[in-house]
């Protein structure tokens, strides 16, 4: 508990198959209903049974932007969790464990042990997951929360399994709650309540829901971690919202099927991770050449190749920039947090519809699989939908030229099915009427005109993309630069630096292409010291920034061990880079999962 209010992280550790997700979700819902802000990060492995999982749930009574710097209450569902993480607990924290099965080890000074006599409390229950429910009771008691809140959450979580299951879980939770009340020290002050209940979502569900709000009528995918949550959300809502959702044979099929649906007139989207995105790239060029708007999502995981399927990285920037052969424009955007992921989908759809070209959203495991709270009033359920120069009720008016060479480069679009507008779209270079010029006589003047037309329409929408802007004091000693998901952790690092007397600000980059390089260069060249924070080894954004602006930051904080940054990693990096001549700082990941 910080002096500034509630700031508390619960860690739940165990093996895959031990049912960590259920208590995690129940806790998250309870905190949300209480109006507390939550940021949950699940560190897990690519295994269905076994391995090690550590779910961190950080709660605050104010907005929370990262999974924090440590664990205040560790629930050990197995011995492995105790052995791995006991050493990171600080004085004043709790460790809760099944006393029948887990040896506590040597407790660091000031750590409060909460052994649960599970066998005794469970009274012979055969339910192997019952320790999870008992521990929920223990945690609620220690946190000073009312049991009624937990009972309600259990009723909701297990309601579908029938009254007997609900009854058993409530009974076991009560036993844990009462045992803890009688035996363990609890919070000096009870768990606070926020102003109003908050909603709960993940980045993947936000991306999917953002798609639904943007009017996506066609979604297809091939399952791939960590993007599969988008598919699951769409599949669950397909009938209710009237959205065609298909699981396709491979990502090549996915990417092209989405273009087919978009050509018919639907807003179409698909999501994958880096490996699947690699298979999709030829299609992205096809969407550009045929001038069909489609949105592709790449939820990054650690690569190269199949890499580390359940770990995060910002390693696919250049893959997005270079996706597909040829020289063409595409929108690339990296949402900075979960709510931003939601808002980004309608934003990019309006842009790709206007410019009739492909768009790429780069998310990563941290945002996509993280669980977050959001004020429901901040979720814009009816965002602006602008389909651009799209003839929805056309009538014949002379010869229709699908690729008419207009001043803006944008040619009014008619989709198949309308009388009098018959035309062919082609991935081969073509003339204004869609007839390909590549076969018999590739007219250099026609080719040049087509290339310039496609580039021109992109230039025309650059102004529609907001330029990045500086957050925090203008006269800061250090300017932290980041892109996409590092926004939150940098924001918190800046707060910590301020407490230590270092004034820092942040330039968060969301839109990668177009970048507004002139604005970025202006801001950075007047900063005192610029440090770029990114979750990769080679400094992908550093290279992109140099290529677009000629600007090179003074220092770099890079992390490429599969785990996301924690605020203190950035703080330590800034302090180190301020006093040494080194230009790159690589933080040490102390929580080993």
């Amino acid at each position: 508990m910080s002096v500034n209010g509630l700031d508390f992280t619960i860690g739940i550790g165990g093996a895959a198959g031990q049912g960590i997700a259920t208590p995690g979700n129940i806790l998250a819902r309870m905190f949300g209903r209480r109006g507390l802000h939550l940021y949950a990060y699940n560190a897990y492995q690519s295994i269905i049974r076994g391995g090690h999982i550590l779910l961190s749930i950080r709660i605050r009574d104010q907005e929370v932007h990262s999974h924090g710097d440590g664990i205040d209450m560790l629930l050990c569902l197995n011995q492995d969790t105790m052995d791995r993480h006991l050493n990171i607990l600080k004085p004043g924290s709790w460790v809760i464990y099944n006393a029948d099965k887990v040896e506590p080890g040597e407790l660091p000074e000031g750590v409060l042990a909460c052994p649960m006599p599970v066998g005794e409390l469970a009274e012979g229950s055969k339910n192997k997951l019952i320790q999870n429910t008992i521990s929920l009771g223990v945690m609620m008691s220690v946190l000073g929360a009312d049991f009624g809140v937990l009972q309600e959450a259990l009723e909701q979580a297990f309601g579908r399994k029938g009254a007997a299951v609900v009854e058993e879980n409530v009974k076991m939770a009560r036993a844990g709650y009462d045992h803890a009340a009688a035996n363990f020290e609890s919070f000096p002050t009870p768990l606070p309540e926020g102003e109003k209940p908050l909603a709960m979502w993940t980045g993947n569900s936000a991306l999917a829901m953002g798609g639904a709000a943007a009017g996506v009528k066609f979604y297809c995918a091939y399952p791939m971690s960590p993007s599969t949550g988008v598919l699951h959300w769409f599949a669950n809502h397909a009938h209710e919202l009237g959205i065609m959702v298909r699981q396709v044979e491979d990502e090549i099929g996915v990417a092209n099927m989405a273009i087919g649906a978009a050509h018919s007139g639907c807003r179409a989207m698909c999501a994958t991770s880096g490996g699947g995105f690699a298979l999709m790239t030829e299609a992205i060029g096809a969407a550009s050449m045929m001038e069909i708007p489609v949105v592709y999502i790449n939820v990054m995981r650690a690569g190269p190749s199949t890499g580390v399927p359940t770990k995060t990285e910002q390693g696919d920037l250049w893959q997005a920039l270079g996706a597909s052969q040829g020289d063409f424009e595409r929108f690339i955007v990296a949402p900075v947090n979960c709510l931003d992921a939601y808002n980004t989908v309608p934003e990019i759809f309006n842009l790709v519809d206007k410019a009739q070209c492909p768009g790429i959203i780069i998310s990563d495991l941290l945002i996509s699989e993280g669980t977050f709270n959001v004020d429901p009033d901040l979720v814009d359920l009816q965002p602006e939908i602008n389909r651009g120069d799209f003839l929805v009720d056309p009538s014949p008016n002379g010869t229709y030229l699908r690729y008419k060479d207009t001043e803006s480069g944008i040619s009014p679009r008619v989709v198949p099915g309308y009388e009098g507008f018959v035309h062919t779209v082609a991935t081969d270079e073509h003339d204004e009427d869609g007839v390909i010029i590549s076969d018999e006589f590739t007219h250099p003047h026609k080719r040049r005109k087509s290339v310039e037309k496609r580039a021109r329409k992109f230039q025309g929408v650059v102004a529609d993309v907001p330029a990045p802007s500086l957050e925090g004091p203008a006269d800061a000693e250090v300017t932290l630069l980041g892109w996409g998901s590092t926004y939150g952790v940098i924001k918190e690092a800046i707060e910590i630096l301020a407490e230590q007397g270092v004034v820092a600000n942040q330039l968060p980059i969301k839109w990668i292409a177009p970048l507004h390089g002139d604005v970025v260069e202006d801001i950075l060249s007047s900063a005192k010291k610029v440090i770029l924070v990114e979750n990769n080894h080679s400094g992908q954004f550093a290279r992109y920034l140099r290529s677009e602006t000629g600007y090179s930051p003074d220092g770099h904080i890079r992390k490429y061990d599969g785990e996301p940054f924690m605020p203190h990693h950035v703080v330590e990096g800034v302090l180190e880079l301020m006093k040494t001549e080194e230009s790159i700082y690589v933080p040490y990941q102390e929580i080993i999962v």
């Binding site: 649906a261 009816q382 007839v435």
Partner: protein
């Protein structure tokens, strides 16, 4: 609007009137295929079939991949998509699901459909969406100037197999049957009258139809030319073949000697994907529906997040 404005200067036809002959399905440009190419017979048969089915150009979307035969949509007066090599079926699937009122016809060659796009054929067959797939099978790669294709015969000598082909060919008919296609036929481009009926049957069939057509390459395949096929071609209907009997169909499809069969191998009425898909049951095609969430839908979504 004057009559002149409604007339396409390239085609010289009224844009909105119903086709009066198969010629009204001729595209903006003439085919650039070699003289004598089998693909001419396929294009003519397709145009005739569309005319006889009384379809209008704007009701049709022809989707192709890459290859000589994949240039077909440009030669057809209909909506067209000339797409990536091997990907006609995913494009066609997306377009059909987006607007299931369109008559969607995928076209291409054996390299495009059975080679690079082979995976999509397998899955499109089992998916059984109401599409018609017309493959101009010339058993060679023509546009790349003569290399083996997945249907080239063993020992065939080509530019990529100067010592003879060591690989066994795919049988598209048995493959499609095994993978669940519900209308599987084989035509011959030199018998357009027969082919027109197969294409009409495929378009009218509610489900996925594969029509594999022997469409000889006169430039690069001198093994399987018109002279090779002429004496061997036999029609299934002349043999009293039962199109419900998949085993007999496979046996006939495997015949590759003095007798090579064309005609309808199998058909069945397994429900098509579009007829089963809940989302398509009520209302207009997806592409014409209102976008976004209603207030009611949004409220429900938020409610579940609490």
């Amino acid at each position: 609007m004057s009559v002149a404005e409604r007339t396409d200067p390239l085609l010289g036809i009224d844009l909105a009137r119903a086709p009066e002959s198969a010629k009204d399905f001729k595209g903006k440009v003439n085919p650039d295929w070699c003289k004598g190419c089998g693909d001419f017979g396929v294009l003519n048969s397709l145009q005739r079939a569309l005319f006889e089915l009384e379809l209008k150009p704007h009701e049709i979307l022809a989707v192709s991949g890459i290859g000589c035969s994949s240039n077909l949509p440009g030669y057809l007066n209909a909506y067209g998509m000339h797409t990536l090599h091997g990907r006609s079926l995913p494009f066609a699937t997306g377009a059909k699901l987006g607007n299931h009122e369109l008559t969607v016809i995928a076209t291409g060659g054996d390299g495009d459909g059975y080679g690079i796009g082979g995976n999509h054929l397998m899955h499109t067959a089992r998916r059984n969406l109401n599409l018609t797939y017309l493959v101009m099978n010339n058993q060679i790669y023509g546009l790349t100037t003569g290399q083996i294709s997945p249907t080239s015969r063993p020992e065939m000598k080509t530019k990529s197999t100067p010592f003879g082909n060591l690989e066994y060919p795919i049988n598209p008919i048995t493959s499609a049957i095994m993978n669940g296609a519900t209308y599987v036929a084989r035509g011959y481009s030199a018998d357009p009258k027969h082919l027109v009926e197969l294409i009409k049957g495929g378009i009218q069939h509610q489900g996925f139809s594969l029509i594999d057509v022997f469409s000889p390459c006169v430039t690069f395949n001198h093994d399987n030319d018109f002279a090779f096929f002429k004496p061997r071609i036999k029609k299934l209907e002349d043999e009293g073949h039962d199109t419900q009997d998949w085993k007999a169909a496979c046996e006939k499809a495997m015949a590759w000697g003095d007798e090579i069969y064309i005609g309808l191998f199998i058909t069945n009425d397994r429900p098509s994907l579009d007829s089963m898909e809940m989302v398509l049951q009520d209302g207009p095609p997806l592409a014409r529906r209102e976008l976004g969430l209603s207030k009611e839908q949004g409220k429900k979504l938020i409610g579940r997040m609490m």
